[in-house]
C-alpha cells in the first residue's frame, strides 16, 4: 500500500532534519572539488618543502667554500685563516693538506710519468671554509667571504658559491610556504562555510519551523553538519589522493627523495583537516540566529 502512495519518481524521499544528507547539488560538488584541489595544493607545497629540506639536509655538511691563494702567498693565507676563524658563521677553517692536492692532481693528470709532487708545489694554497648554522643570512655570508678573500689577495670559485647559495633560498622559501598554506586554508574554509550558509539560507524557514515543532538542535543541524563533514572529508580525500601521483613523479625524476612516508602522513592530515574544518564550519554557520526572521537579510 505504501508503494501505491509513493509515485515512481519519488522513490528517494528527502525529508528534512536528522541523519539525512541534503541532496548534493552543483554548488556542493563545486565546493568539494575546489577545496579538494586547494588542499592538494597545500599538500604538494608541503611535499615540495619536505623534498627541498631533504635536499638541503643532504648538503648540510657539504656547504664548503674554497678560498684559493697563489702558492707563494702563505702569509696572506695564514692571515685570512685567522680572520675567518673568528667569524661565527664559519664552523671550521682548514688548510687543504698538500698531499690531497697531489693525489687529486695525480689522478687528474693520469698515470703519466710527470712528477705530480713537483707540480703540486706550484699549486695554489686552498683554505676550506665549512659553514655552520645555515640560514637566510647566508646570502650575505657568501658576499662577505668573497670580499674578505679578495682583500687578502685570494679568490673563490663563483660556481661553487651559486650552488651553496641555493641552500639559503630553500630555507627562506619555508616562510612563504607557511603563509600560502594559511591563506589557502582560510580560502577553503570560506568556500565551505559559504556553501553551507547558502544551503541554510535556502532552508531557513524549514529550520525555524522544525524548531517550532519541538525538534532538538542536533536534529535541525545534523544535515548541515553531515554536509559540511562530507564536503570537507571528500575534499581532503581528493587532495590526499591527488598527492600520490605527484610524489610518484618526484621520485621518478630523482631518487634523492624518499617521500612515500611523508605522502601518507600529509594526505592523512589533509583528510583530517578537511573533515574537521567541514564540521567546524557547519557548526559555526548553524550557530547564527537562523531562527530570527529579520535575519533573512544578511545586511544587519
Amino acid at each position: 500500500m505504501i508503494s501505491d502512495l509513493l509515485p515512481e519518481h519519488m522513490k528517494h524521499l528527502h525529508l528534512p532534519g536528522g541523519f539525512q544528507l541534503p541532496p548534493f547539488g552543483l554548488h556542493q560538488w563545486l565546493a568539494l572539488i575546489i577545496v579538494g584541489v586547494g588542499l592538494w595544493l597545500v599538500g604538494s607545497v608541503w611535499l615540495g618543502l619536505q623534498a627541498g629540506q631533504q635536499w638541503v639536509n643532504s648538503w648540510q655538511d657539504d656547504v664548503v667554500v674554497h678560498v684559493y691563494f697563489p702558492h707563494d702567498q702563505e702569509l696572506a693565507l695564514i692571515r685570512a685563516q685567522e680572520r675567518f676563524e673568528k667569524w661565527p658563521s664559519v664552523a671550521s677553517v682548514q688548510l687543504r693538506p698538500v698531499e690531497e692536492g697531489v693525489a687529486w692532481l695525480q689522478e687528474w693528470l693520469g698515470d703519466t710519468g710527470l712528477d705530480a709532487e713537483e707540480i703540486a708545489k706550484r699549486l695554489p694554497l686552498v683554505l676550506v671554509l665549512r659553514l655552520g648554522n645555515h640560514d637566510e643570512s647566508s646570502e650575505f655570508i657568501f658576499a662577505d667571504i668573497r670580499d674578505e678573500a679578495v682583500r687578502q689577495g685570494g679568490f673563490i670559485n663563483e660556481d661553487e658559491l651559486l650552488l651553496a647559495r641555493m641552500h639559503g633560498y630553500v630555507a627562506s622559501v619555508k616562510y612563504i610556504v607557511l603563509f600560502v598554506t594559511i591563506l589557502l586554508a582560510l580560502a577553503m574554509a570560506l568556500i565551505i562555510s559559504n556553501t553551507l550558509r547558502m544551503m541554510q539560507l535556502s532552508h531557513q524557514e524549514e529550520m525555524a519551523l522544525m524548531r517550532l515543532m519541538g525538534a532538538k538542535e542536533w536534529f535541525v543541524r545534523m544535515p548541515f553538519m553531515l554536509e559540511g563533514a562530507l564536503i570537507g572529508a571528500g575534499a581532503g580525500f581528493l587532495g590526499g589522493m591527488l598527492l600520490w601521483p605527484i610524489s610518484w613523479m618526484v621520485s621518478t625524476i630523482s631518487d634523492h627523495f624518499h617521500l612515500s612516508g611523508d605522502v601518507g602522513w600529509i594526505s592523512f592530515s589533509l583528510m583530517l583537516l578537511g573533515l574537521v574544518s567541514g564540521c567546524v564550519g557547519a557548526w559555526i554557520s548553524t550557530l547564527r540566529g537562523v531562527d530570527d526572521r529579520a535575519d533573512e537579510d544578511l545586511d544587519s
Partner: protein, 226 residues
C-alpha cells in the same frame, strides 16, 4: 478559578514586546482539557500573541502561565521542546514550505518526532484525505489555491494527534462552505480528544459551532462566556 485539572492556566499574565508595546496584560483564566475555545477581538487585540505564548514562542513578562503542567516562565529549552511536540499549530500566515511537496510539509512534525517513513506515509495520506486533499499529496504548495494551502496547514497541525491544537484564523482565507468544512474538521479533532484554541474574527462561525468564547480588547480580556 484555578483548577487542578486545567490544561492551561494563566494568572495576571502580561506580555511586553521588546519595542515596549504591552500586547497583553492582566489575563487570568483557565482552559480545561478537551475544551473548544474561541479567541476573538479586533485586529491587534493580542490573539496571536496569546497563542504564541501557549507554545513558548514568547515567554511571559510577568504573571503566571502554565501549559500542560509546564511553567512557561521557568521552563527549560527541553521542556518547551517536549511541549511543542504535543502541540499542533496553525499559523496565521500558514508558513508552508514552498520548496517542499505537500507530503513533505505534513510529514515534518512526524519526522521531528522520529516516526519511521513506513508509518509516516499512510498517516499523512489519511490526514490529507481527511481535509479533502488526498490527491494533492505530491503537489507543491505554490500549485494550490489559498484555501487549499490553508487546509494543508491544518493537516500539518493535526497529523500528530496533539493534545492541544492552536489555530490562528484557520478560516481566514476560506469561502463559507470550506470554512464550515474546516470547522467540522476542528470539531472532530476536538471530539477525538484534543483541546482546540482558535483565534477568529468570524462571528457567524462562532454562532454556528458553539464553544467557549474569550474576547480580547487591546491586550485585556473583556469577555469570557464560560
Amino acid at each position: 478559578m484555578s483548577d487542578a485539572t486545567a490544561l492551561l492556566s494563566m494568572q495576571q499574565l502580561m506580555l511586553r514586546y521588546k519595542t515596549g508595546k504591552v500586547a497583553l496584560s492582566g489575563i487570568t483564566m483557565d482552559i480545561s482539557e478537551n475544551s473548544f475555545v474561541y479567541l476573538t477581538g479586533e485586529s491587534g487585540a493580542g490573539k496571536s500573541t496569546l497563542l504564541q505564548m501557549f507554545y513558548g514562542g514568547l515567554r511571559p513578562s510577568s504573571g503566571k502561565l502554565s501549559v500542560q503542567c509546564v511553567n512557561m516562565r521557568t521552563a527549560q529549552e527541553g521542556e518547551i521542546r517536549m511541549l511543542r511536540q504535543r502541540t499542533g499549530i496553525i499559523f496565521q500566515d500558514h508558513r508552508l514550505l514552498f520548496a517542499r511537496t505537500v507530503f513533505e510539509n505534513i510529514a515534518l512534525p512526524l519526522r521531528v518526532q522520529g516516526w519511521h517513513i513506513d508509518k509516516i506515509l499512510p498517516r499523512v495520506h489519511k490526514v490529507l484525505s481527511f481535509v479533502g486533499l488526498g490527491d494533492r499529496m505530491w503537489a507543491y504548495p505554490a500549485a494550490l489555491s489559498g484555501g487549499e494551502q490553508q487546509r494543508v496547514a491544518i493537516a500539518r497541525a493535526i497529523v500528530t494527534k496533539s493534545r492541544v491544537v492552536l489555530a490562528d484564523e484557520p478560516t481566514g482565507n476560506l469561502d463559507v462552505e470550506t470554512a464550515q468544512q474546516i470547522m467540522d474538521l476542528l470539531k472532530a479533532v476536538n471530539r477525538s480528544g484534543s483541546t482546540v484554541i482558535m483565534a477568529t474574527h468570524d462571528l457567524h462561525l462562532i454562532n454556528e459551532f458553539p464553544g467557549r468564547v474569550i474576547t480580547l480588547h487591546a491586550g485585556a480580556m473583556v469577555a469570557d462566556d464560560l
